[in-house]
């Protein structure tokens, strides 16, 4: 029985590797993801979970507790993942920042849809969600890109990239002997593309990196009553069975006159099981790796 289980495990793990290799190289439009959504992959994961459940207590031995929990952890995690896969739902939505607008349903993000084309169906929330405010904080600029004009070079190589110019503590930068003050860098004559030419050097304003962004949400009309929360990346908000994650934002005003906040909304019934399975796996893995009893067993097997 033990050999049969081990042999089956080897076959299942080998098959899983082959399937994953098939989906490991990205294709245009993320076509490789079809491998992981295919029924064959879902069925294989189910078989692995089943094999873990059967193999876990075999042979029953106190010394094998870490191994038992490792197998149970895999089975529980895959069970939770399957529950979420079949019963869960998730949506990526773009919502405008407007304290007067109450969203009682969501519609998946689709720029075409926002213009009235390819509109996706509305998903009722069962409560009202309002985005009252949105704030972004940027990192300070520490360097500028610079290009030098070379008169005698070929046309395609006239502008030669230089080492980035580091910003001094007072916000100024130095080009050769010339110091460009922070005030000059912040105001015109910089052109609309954020470029400033100083003699034969072109300096380019770097793209600002967001340090933090947050949305002030107002949730109401649900079973949890009315509440105001701050939604940030890495700090999801739970309300009436839904979990909201702040994904990104769009303030380019390309599709709307207001800043759009991109939110990932999901209902994942298996999430708690997955989290439990993961923690079980982590604890069992360290016990398995560091407890000396199992090492002896391995050595016996390894010397065969």
């Amino acid at each position: 029985m033990k050999r049969f289980l081990l042999f089956s495990s080897v076959l299942l793990l080998g098959a899983w590797i082959v399937l994953m290799l098939a989906g490991a190289v990205p294709q245009v439009g993320n076509a490789q993801l079809a491998v992981f959504r295919a029924p064959a992959h879902v069925a294989l994961c189910g078989l692995i979970a089943l094999a873990c459940l059967i193999a876990a207590p075999w042979p029953l031995n106190l010394r094998r507790i870490p191994t038992v929990f490792l197998h149970l952890g895999v089975a529980i995690t895959l069970f939770g993942a399957a529950w979420s896969y079949f019963k869960g739902e998730e949506h990526d939505v773009s919502l405008p920042v407007d304290p007067n607008q109450r969203h009682r349903s969501l519609r998946e993000t689709s720029h075409g849809g926002m213009m009235g084309m390819n509109a996706k169906p509305e998903i009722p929330l069962g409560f009202a969600l309002t985005i009252k405010n949105f704030t972004v904080e940027f990192y300070p600029v520490i360097k500028w890109d610079a290009w030098k004009y070379q008169e005698n070079a070929d046309e395609s190589q006239r502008w030669k990239s230089l080492e980035p110019l580091l910003v001094a503590k007072d916000g100024s930068i130095k080009i050769g002997d010339e110091i460009i003050s922070a005030a000059k860098l912040a105001t015109p004559p910089m052109n609309s593309r954020g470029e400033l030419q100083i003699s034969d050097t072109l300096i380019v304003r770097p793209v600002k990196t967001a340090k933090r962004f947050a949305a002030d949400l107002h949730l109401a009309e649900g079973t949890q009553g009315s509440k105001d929360v701050v939604l940030e990346v890495n700090s999801p908000v739970d309300y009436d069975g839904w979990r909201f994650h702040l994904s990104s934002y769009d303030d380019s005003l390309q599709y709307s006159e207001q800043t759009l906040v991109q939110i990932h909304a999901r209902r994942e019934p298996g999430a708690a099981w997955i989290t439990f399975g993961i923690w079980l796996l982590i604890i069992a893995a360290f016990a398995w790796g560091f407890l000396p009893e199992r090492r002896k067993t391995l050595l016996v097997g390894d010397n065969k």
Binding site: L13, L33, V233, H245, A285, F286, G289, F290, P292, L299
Partner: protein, 276 residues
Amino acid sequence: MTHPELLQNHVLVNAILGSAAGLCLIAAILFVCRKDFWAWTSFVLGTLIAAAMIVVNAFAVGDIPLGNMYQVQVVLGFVFLPLAILVSVRDTSRAHLTWFALAAVLALVGACFQGKEADWRRMPALQSAWFAPHVLAYMIGYALAAVAALMQLGQAITSTAYWQLCFPRPAMDMNPQSNIIPIIIRLAMPFLLFGLLSGCLWADQAWGHFWSWDPKETWSLITIVFYLLYFHLARLGTAPRWRILCHFLAFAALLTTFYVVNMVPRMASAMHSYTK
């Protein structure tokens, strides 16, 4: 507060890293010659220089110095000494010491060839308590797996007929029947698993997905499954050549996760921004 000027002089930075790598190389040679006191001294000095560079990198970026491959490889170069001590506690044979020092050389020399940008800014998703444990666990796991793979390679080479003909006695303190390789892989597994699973918990918080089949994630899982296969083959009692093949494939998958995925632009993801 950042001090990017600290890394402006690439020649000086490479000289410092080169000296650390040189000391580790001397340690590896001295371990072979059984001059343990001087070997440990050299290894400790090389590692202390790597530790000093980690501090310099931290000042340069004003954050945890794990923002790009250069910073990550300096940290990787540092972890080999503590891990050699850990393995020495678990296994009293000294067969592994040379390989730990050699692996540190490879990591530090690799850091010399990486771009030394200091303008890393942690995007909001990376500002998580999971960031440091996730990356450090992977570094520890990768370091242990690298030593195990190097030892396996060394054993494979020294067991060839040609080598036996040229060097009747093994030049290094390596017993082909040594069980230290599975012990090292066994120590690596919890760290590799923690890296993978902490990434899942973090992704759940940040994006609302435990798993998204991102290429880096997929290759990382392939690596773990190869190592699981290795242990199942060992328990099954298959011929050593199958386990050795599985070990090499697992390490190849690990290298793909760590390096190759970063080199292919369409495989490098925004989630793993240090790869850029």
